[in-house]
């Protein structure tokens, strides 16, 4: 038996290990530890293909782990990961290739909550703003409270245009929740509070930090 193929194979494996994406290695370990081998392999293949088109892989791994934790079947997990790839891809097409992971995730959530890709595209000019993800979080909130998508987009675009901070977007949610508890309809509360925040910001006011 010749030793040259053995040594050659070993160096090929070592080379592959050395230059393989380290995050992918770690993620695969989590998948194979928590999922059955068939589901883990299917999810890993989806994660790899998503990575090759530049989509973030961590949210996909987390989606699979969420499914496992919630007792979902392997098929359901693979379907959910595939659906998330589709939503992230649609969100990226709508907002541009240079948006961050948080913004992509929130945009995908906005699509899930009823916004259309065409509507999301209206926020594209604001994507370089520091508070862009905060604005998208505000959009998801408005949609989840039943505010019509067109009105939500108009308000969030106006707030981004007025350079509101992420903290101010968060305070919008808190203020609207308070108004709703007092009986104000969500759409009305949002309109009033958003205009007030924009006015306050133009007059030089600072946003406040809030926590979830």
């Amino acid at each position: 038996m010749s030793v040259r193929p053995i040594i050659g194979t070993a160096f090929a494996c070592a080379f592959a290990l050395a230059f393989a994406p380290r995050h992918a290695l770690a993620q695969d370990a989590r998948l194979y530890k928590r999922l059955d081998p068939q589901t883990a392999a299917a999810v890993a293949a989806l994660v790899d293909s998503a990575s090759t088109i530049g989509l973030p892989s961590e949210p996909l791994v987390q989606k699979a782990l969420e499914g496992q934790s919630k007792g979902a079947s392997g098929d359901a997990i693979v379907r959910a990961v595939r659906a998330l790839i589709r939503d992230l891809s649609t969100a990226r097409d709508a907002l541009g290739n240079d948006v961050g992971v948080d913004a992509l995730l929130l945009a995908a959530a906005a699509l899930d909550a009823g916004a259309t890709p065409t509507q999301l595209e209206r926020l594209r000019p604001h994507r370089s703003r520091e508070s862009f993800a905060g604005g998208l979080a505000g959009l998801v909130y408005l949609l989840s409270r039943g505010v019509p998508a067109e009105q939500s987009l108009d308000l969030i675009a106006a707030m981004l245009n007025a350079r509101l901070s992420a903290a101010e977007f968060a305070s919008l949610q808190r203020l609207v929740e308070r108004d709703m508890m007092a009986g104000t309809p969500p759409a009305e509360a949002v309109a009033v509070r958003a205009r007030a925040l924009i006015r306050h910001n133009r007059s030089g006011g600072l946003g406040e930090r809030v926590r979830p």
Binding site: A10, F11, K70, D102, G134, L143, S144, R211, P212
Partner: protein
């Protein structure tokens, strides 16, 4: 094969004749050749030894990268990640245990238990990276609940998932 130079023909018989040498010199030459063969054999590992060496190379490379991955956190790599404190609170009067499960703990139900702080109030403070957080509460290890204070909640895998956005700390 090329033809022999005609000028060498007179020397052909001499050239083909085995060189004469003393028996001691021949023995020394044979011993030297045997030693060289033995040295060459020692330099080439046996197949089991080569296999063991190959496995060791692959295992050491893999172990190195896994160790590096654990060691090389963004903070250590120089990225400034300012963590924010997030308080998770759930009112569950009759619960025996509550945990928060989400993206920040790989959806591990055992990773972040809440402690009972008052009259049916359970809470935990978690240091998180700013950004989007997806999570849910798990009551008594079986009942999934959305966070009533979250930005939004929806069903994932037939159970609730909440979304929160952790605001990045503002600069000085």
């Amino acid at each position: 094969m090329s033809e022999l130079d005609p000028r060498l023909e007179p020397w052909l018989a001499t050239l083909r004749k085995e060189p004469s040498a003393r028996p001691e010199a021949r023995a020394r030459l044979a011993a030297a050749l045997r030693e060289e063969d033995a040295r060459a054999a020692r330099r080439i590992p046996s197949p089991p030894a080569a296999l063991a060496a190959a496995i060791a190379v692959v295992a050491l490379t893999g172990a190195f990268w896994l160790a590096f991955e654990r060691w090389n956190t963004p903070e250590r790599a120089g990225a400034v990640v300012e963590l924010a404190s997030a308080q998770f609170v759930l009112h569950a009067r009759d619960a025996r245990s509550v945990s928060v499960v989400g993206d920040f703990n790989d959806w591990d139900p055992r990773a972040t238990p809440l402690t009972r702080t008052g009259d049916g109030v359970w809470s935990a403070v978690v240091r998180l990276r700013p950004g989007t957080v997806r999570y849910a509460y798990l009551v008594d290890g079986t009942e999934w609940r959305a966070d009533p204070h979250a930005v939004t909640s929806h069903e994932e895998f037939g159970r609730p998932t909440s979304i929160a956005y952790i605001v990045p700390p503002e600069g000085p």
